[in-house]
């Protein structure tokens, strides 16, 4: 028969009560300090055994310096990407028997993140991971030069040992390449925030892919990642039939397509749309959205792995290769038809860059 588990774990005060001593005395026994009478020590050790007491991480930390707690700093958004990364990091940490102390930063600027880091240091975490959206944060963290391991999930063209990332730049190039190969020559970009680390990398990918093909990179407008922004911008954007819009995330693409319906512009016949993220909704939108899939689970798990290696072997100086993205082709894009003629880009859809089924 299985043992009946106690409703709550015994704490140092339970041990003190049972042994008839102060909790300071229990603490002295636990820490192997002198000035405890042998009889008292025995009473305390007996109480510890009887209550199956195991010292709390707080008590242990005074001895071992380690708290087995990691700090997670995450932005105060419920967007799919940051949420999934944090969730998978937390699950992996728990599997490795680490606690996760989460700080949700309302503002995402370097100052707010720095205050969060200071808070976690006061709580004596063993390492810190950050899910970063603002481009200035990584530089700030690098300059702090912390004495504990730090890993940031953030996009940057400057590679650094403290970064883990998904290859936003190549993902964006794949999206633009797909549109160009369908015959589009005017490819706009509805970008994320101008200070958004991911957004900046996707703008760079859009610009470079167009440049390489001799196409103009002129239609660029910045949003704030929300469906609302996609809708608002989509109502006013300079659009003409035959155009394509590469949108920096799926939520803005969703809002954009809603605005296009109001303007009686069909997707993909009048305007082709590509998103980024592959949120679970993407396959069920009208029309189902062509987008760039990111592996958030792999990124969250990589964050933990990097922190643990740094804890065991000292700060890791390896610069990781960014994780690959996958273009998922659905119905919001197709080969462009000009004046009822044969499609410019060829009748057949090109195969997805890296083959992932759409549904």
């Amino acid at each position: 028969m299985p043992d009946e588990k106690p409703a709550r774990a015994a704490n140092i005060f339970d041990v003190a009560r049972l042994a008839g001593v102060s909790h300071q005395t229990v603490s002295r026994v636990l820490n192997g300090l002198p000035n405890v009478r042998p009889a008292t020590r025995e009473r305390v050790e007996h109480a510890i055994a009887q209550l199956r007491y195991s010292p709390s991480p707080a008590a242990q930390s005074l001895v071992s310096r380690r708290t087995r707690t990691l700090g997670l700093i995450a932005p105060a958004v419920s967007d799919y990407g940051p949420t999934r990364i944090g969730m998978h990091f937390s699950m992996a940490a728990r599997a490795a028997r680490y606690s996760v102390n989460t700080i949700t930063t309302v503002d995402d600027d370097p100052g707010a993140v720095r205050a969060a880091i200071e808070g976690l240091l006061r709580q004596r975490v063993d390492g810190i991971v950050l899910i970063v959206m603002d481009i200035g944060v990584v530089e700030m963290v690098r300059e702090l030069d912390l004495s504990i391991p730090v890993v940031a999930a953030a996009s940057s063209s400057r590679r650094s040992p403290l970064l883990v990332q998904i290859d936003q730049y190549r993902g964006a190039r794949a999206a633009v390449r797909h549109l160009a190969e369908l015959g589009h020559t005017r490819i706009a970009h509805l970008a994320g925030p101008a200070r958004g680390a991911d957004a900046i990398e996707r703008v760079r990918g859009w610009r470079d892919e167009l440049a390489e093909r001799g196409l103009p990179a002129v239609d660029l407008v910045y949003g704030d990642w929300s469906a609302e922004a996609g809708y608002r911008i989509g109502r006013e954007m300079d659009l003409e039939p035959g155009m394509a819009v590469f949108t920096s995330n799926d939520l803005m693409a969703l809002g954009l397509m809603s605005a296009l319906r109001e303007r009686a512009l069909g997707v993909p016949d009048d305007v082709a749309v590509v998103g980024f993220d592959d949120i679970p909704e993407a396959a069920f939108l009208y029309p189902p959205l062509t987008t760039v899939r990111q592996n958030f689970a792999a990124l969250g798990e990589l964050m933990l792995q990097k922190v643990l290696v740094a804890l065991e072997e000292g700060q890791d100086e390896t610069v990781d290769t960014p994780l690959a993205t996958h273009l998922v082709v659905r119905e919001s894009t197709r080969a462009l038809v000009v004046d009822g003629d044969e499609p410019v880009g060829g009748l057949e859809l090109p195969a997805p860059v890296e083959g992932v089924p759409g549904r």
Copy 2:
């Protein structure tokens, strides 16, 4: 001029190094223990002042019994509702200067949640909040009879002091009432999981509202909250023109509408659809979705408030009134037209139950 903040807070080892003593001696000084020579004590106190060292929560907890840390147990999902509740709880906790130790439970059954609670107790949190999806969890927590404050965000028809909740039952009744008032007599329900606490309350609301109106509550099918489930079920569901489907969340409604398009059933002309949640996407779907809005921010903040009151004044025995929902009427529902005649339910849309603009 503002002070230059140190790159990281000083820790007990920095103090020990500067004072030229062991960290155990620093700890003895901090805890007011005897057997420290006056000259040594003075050196330690001087180092503490010089480094502006404040004892870590771990060190303080041995003295004060409080860790100023709250445990949050959340399911491993990135769904809008649980994510927003957790986020707003964490933000409110931080504003109140509490740390949040998050455990993400991969499985949502009572056993997994119990293991998470035991983990948090070992970490000596001051209180625990849970975001519960499975109906069995609340009963399990009640039976544990923990000695620290516990608050669960969970739906239940059995009111309890440890619960905070949004009124799923009345929200569901409002959704069904809306459809009935538009002239619908066959109102199906695409429910959440059979063990889902929210799902069960919404089924109950659907059933009771239909019963009160003498309408049959026969079309009931269970999904798993995902858009994919809505799509899969929607492809096979027994549907006829003039029907309505009350869907237990917006994601399944999105998948359902995608399946209806494939079956050439128009929304709302052939089949009316109502969702639940009001996710940010809802206003931009095709057609924009009529749904029931929940105030997740208020719920997250209420969780913190209840824990803090319990910490200060002992476990609160107040049973809170569930928070109200708001019906948001958009374009996936409208007065039913039979055989091209006047709409059965009257030409005008009824005013939303509680007036909230659709966009």
